[in-house]
């Protein structure tokens, strides 16, 4: 009996080393496909799971961090507050690589305010929204990303305009904003790799059909309708910095974005003149796509050099969580001086 040779990445890890517990999603749920892309992205980028932390809120989507990278620490927080908890965790240990998964309900409804403020801070964080336009776990009520005119299974019609989380993220100052589709692993996996390599906050709004509650006729976020209206702005490739050195990467293809760790994102344009580093252009294009009833996908906006939150706080070196006692406690001498000052 000959065993099939396993493919290993630069850390000598196989893809299965990036797996987690068995999924409890409904069969065919978009969220499972995203988990698969996440696993692939980490594997392809040869990231050590022990250096990763996983976070989430509450929802079907928010359960998924249990289903990838079982060797990484993870936390399932409360509904809508992943952004706050992540802020604390990342400040406490900025040396780890954090990835978070949230739902559209989690992010755009109860969590909206905290989400916006996390963006402002440019937390170094990859924030994936598994966007199905409904509250899956509570059985299919509209979320704030439900498209106007969409019908619930039971017939109710949504009267509100959907919140476009990409547009909002750009407006709030996000430094990496992408949209993709759970079913498009070829686009999604490199986008996640790029997001992980990005220094700063990366928002990925991933359309992820809820096959149980939002996959009927009349729903704009059904698998069929999304498929029919995808509008990628470019083909995307990602080459991790470390690998570049080995393969002696040949520059010059289409548009390249070099990330701070030397990784290269290659974008083969499908949209004429689209410049992902132009904020106003990105917002215009998003609005045009909305008018056209299309789902613009790809790396929509990118700003490489803004200081991250921990940089703003001057946190460098040892993680705060690992500082030894002698770094954490001022000397008695200082206390004497303070007492002296207070006694005057």
């Amino acid at each position: 009996m000959s065993e099939a040779k396993e493919f290993l990445n630069r850390l000598n890890l196989a893809e299965k080393d990036y797996s987690g517990a068995p999924s409890t999603m409904c069969q065919g749920c978009g969220h499972d496909a995203i988990s698969a892309s996440i696993r692939k992205a980490f594997y392809d980028s040869s990231i050590d799971p022990k250096q990763v932390i996983k976070l989430s809120g509450i929802g079907c989507s928010s359960k998924t961090p249990a289903y990838f990278l079982g060797k990484a620490f993870g936390i399932n927080t409360v509904h809508g507050r992943m952004s706050a908890v992540a802020t604390g965790a990342i400040v406490a240990n900025h040396t780890l690589l954090p990835i978070g998964v949230s739902g559209d309900g989690d992010t755009s409804a109860i969590g909206l305010g905290n989400f916006c403020h996390m963006i402002r801070r440019n937390l170094n964080f990859t924030y994936i929204i598994e966007n199905n336009g409904v509250y899956g776990l509570t059985k299919g009520q509209f979320s704030a990303t439900a498209d106007k005119g969409t019908a619930l299974k039971k017939g109710k019609i949504n009267q509100n305009e959907a919140i476009d989380l990409c547009e909002l993220a750009i407006t709030m100052g996000a430094t990496f904003v992408a949209r993709s589709f759970s079913g498009d692993r070829k686009q999604l996996a490199p986008l996640i790799q790029a997001a992980l390599a990005h220094k700063g906050l990366a928002i990925l709004d991933v359309l992820s059909p809820c096959v149980t509650f939002n996959n009927h006729e009349g729903s704009k976020k059904s698998l069929k309708n999304i498929r029919a209206h995808l509008d990628p702005i470019h083909d995307i490739d990602f080459m991790p910095g470390a690998e570049l050195i080995e393969v002696d990467y040949k520059k010059g293809s289409e548009t390249e974005v070099v990330l701070y760790d030397g990784s290269i994102v290659t974008l083969k344009k499908l949209h004429e003149n689209y410049d992902p580093m132009n904020k106003m252009g990105a917002i215009l294009e998003l609005n045009q796509a909305k008018t056209d009833g299309k789902f613009l996908t790809g790396l929509i906006y990118f700003e490489p050099n803004r200081p991250t939150f921990t940089e703003q706080l001057d946190i460098r070196g040892t993680a705060l969580a690992y500082l030894p006692e002698d770094k954490l406690r001022p000397s008695i001498k200082h206390l004497d001086a303070i007492n002296k000052k207070l006694s005057m």
Binding site: L55, F73, R81, G88, V91, G113, R329
Partner: protein, 599 residues
């Protein structure tokens, strides 16, 4: 009858009018004379022009709580003048500005009245811009001359206060002199009190407020992540940290060993410290009632997932916005039961500057030891009013991180680790933090039901086991948290229990009761859940009065819940009008309660 070093001066002004600085200088001067003294600032929820009262008490016996009698009233607020005059005791002294006084104020004939032309005098201050502010320094001058505060002391205090700004010192001094000269020239006197320097009095003592000492305590307690959202009266706790941290907590590369994050709201602040606690940092927030209400859900997460986190609650008048600049102890039950579901929390109850300092570190320690949210419960009176104290003393030698284990620990115990397993029978499991490279270290943390191995579980047995262990942990806390201070007297049938900012008033009230011939024992409660010593104390006495600054007798409720068999041996003394509690009210209410029971 004039006293020596026993007086309570109340200064009534509109806020934002510059009186804060004048009052501060007056108070510090009395302190500098070595006289036992304390101060209470009763300010409005407003930035400018609304009524403020600042009380300075000198007490030769060394009592520091607010005095229930006003001996001297400085009426510099036209809006409240009439009612302020009414608050003066018989034969008390009214000080007023003849240039800003209404006739009605002067109708009382049972008091001493000294009017001085402050507005007129202030015109002599050359810089018109600061004239109205410095008008307040004129009463400082008047009082100093009337009561016997020397020019040298005043100058020394001005120097301490304005250090590097000689022109400010000078202008203030000028205003003071305008006042004192007026007294001297007009040969005015009073027979309320003479302030007399006590050599060596207050020597080495500091003047500070609870929030400052809590801030310092947390810094010395090794806090590394602070997240907060502004709210009176807790803001100054966080802001004082922001002030001290840069000088106290930079590493050799000049990088901070801390992060202070002004969050967008209290939910985020609680979320941030929960995330930081999970990741292994010592993390805290500071807030007051409304913020506490908003943090409930996150506190429940930390309780259920056993994440260390410290909540510094500086209480104020509730419910709702309530009286945001007044003091109260009415968030005890909110802290104790914070979050939906069956929860019980640990609360530390500091009552003076040293315990503010010590318990702040202890709060961080206990959070790590018990792996749970721990509350540090202060209040506006304790947190914001300036009082004297012995110098802050660093008592506990090192940080206690509890059962936080690392790679080598897991190895040492045979490469085994079960996140939520009660290894030691105290309800407290071991804990690892992200970054730990041991292959067995990893766990997935979730606010949903889970078993001892941190796997999600909806099994009824797992769930009950978890809830029971959490309760066991809370029982462990009864002995781990600071034990009460007990002063018993063999002969007393009456016990009194107090905590926080009431303790000082109760001390004085007991003194008065003692003078009435009523002996009492006292227990200073330092923490919740209740120590068994509290039970002993109550059992030993025929009746125990629990003094609280809330309407509902919140700590008494907890005693009743814990030891129903003692319920008939306790009664409540409740003061909850928002002002710092006085010995007088405790005395009076205690006697009323006892009246029916013992006497």
């Amino acid at each position: 009858m004039s006293t020596i070093n026993d007086v309570n001066i109340c200064i009534a002004t509109p806020n934002g009018s510059g009186s804060a600085s004048a009052n501060n200088i007056l108070f510090k001067s009395i302190f500098k004379m070595g006289i036992p003294c304390s101060s209470k600032n009763m300010f409005p929820s407003n930035i400018q022009s609304m009524p403020t009262w600042y009380e300075i008490r000198a007490s030769s016996a060394g009592f520091g709580s607010r005095k229930d009698v006003i001996d001297v009233m400085v009426t510099f607020n036209p809006e409240t003048g009439a009612s302020d005059v009414g608050k003066l005791r018989e034969n008390g002294l009214l000080l007023y500005d003849t240039g800003a006084c209404e006739e009605s104020w002067l109708s009382r004939n049972d008091i001493q009245k000294i009017g001085f032309p402050a507005t007129e005098l202030s015109k002599q201050i050359p810089n018109a811009k600061i004239r109205s502010k410095l008008r307040n320094m004129i009463y400082v001058g008047v009082i100093s001359s009337l009561f016997g505060i020397s020019r040298e002391v005043l100058i020394a205090v001005l120097r301490d206060t304005f250090g590097d700004k000689p022109e400010v010192i000078e202008s203030n001094l000028m205003a003071i002199e305008l006042g004192s000269k007026w007294v001297e020239e007009n040969q005015v006197t009073q027979d309320i009190c003479t302030l007399v320097t006590i050599e060596g009095g207050n020597k080495g003592k500091i003047l500070s407020d609870g929030n400052t000492c809590s801030a310092l305590g947390a810094i010395y307690g090794g806090v590394s992540v602070v997240a907060w959202y502004p709210i009176t009266p807790s803001s100054s706790l966080a802001e004082t940290m922001e002030k001290y941290l840069p000088e106290l907590r930079m590493d050799e590369d000049k990088n901070p060993t801390y992060a202070v994050i002004q969050a967008e709201d209290e939910i985020a602040a609680a979320g941030i410290i929960t995330g930081a606690g999970w990741a292994g940092a010592r993390a805290m927030t500071a807030t007051s009632g409304p913020g506490l209400s908003l943090m409930n859900e996150m506190i429940g997460l930390a309780y259920f997932t056993e994440i260390p986190s410290s909540y510094f609650i500086v209480q104020r008048g509730g419910p709702s916005t309530g009286l945001p600049t007044r003091t109260q102890q009415s968030d005890i039950l909110s802290m104790y039961f914070a979050s939906h579901g069956d929860t019980r929390h640990v609360i530390l109850l500091p009552h003076d500057l040293q315990t503010c300092f010590e318990f702040s570190k202890l709060c961080l320690d206990l959070a790590d030891q018990l792996q749970t949210p721990v509350f540090f419960a202060s209040d506006l009176d304790l947190g914001m009013n300036i009082r004297p104290s012995e110098p802050l003393e660093l008592k506990s030698p090192s940080l206690n991180r509890g059962k936080l284990i690392h790679e080598k620990d897991i190895e040492a115990q045979g490469n085994q680790f079960r996140r939520y397993f009660d290894l030691d029978g105290d309800g407290i499991p071991q804990r690892t933090i992200p970054g730990n490279q041991h292959p067995k270290a990893v766990y997935f943390c979730s606010g949903a039901g889970h078993n001892a191995d941190a796997k999600r579980s909806e099994d009824p047995g797992d769930y009950k086991e978890l809830l029971d262990r959490l309760l066991k942990k809370n029982h462990t806390a009864r002995l781990l948290a600071p034990q009460p201070l007990v002063e018993t007297s063999e002969t007393s049938r009456i016990g009194m229990i107090s905590f926080g900012s009431s303790v000082e008033a109760v001390r004085e009230a007991r003194h008065r009761m003692n003078q009435d011939g009523i002996k009492t024992s006292h227990l200073t409660l330092l923490a919740l859940p209740l120590s068994p010593l509290v039970k002993d104390f109550i059992q030993k006495h025929e009746i125990t009065l629990i003094v609280e600054q809330n309407r509902d007798g919140q700590v008494a409720s907890i005693v009743r819940m814990d030891w129903p068999e003692l319920a008939q041996k306790i009664d409540s003394v409740l003061v909850y009008d928002g002002l710092p509690v006085t010995a007088g009210s405790v005395h009076r209410l205690s006697m009323e309660k006892l009246g029916g029971k013992l006497l």
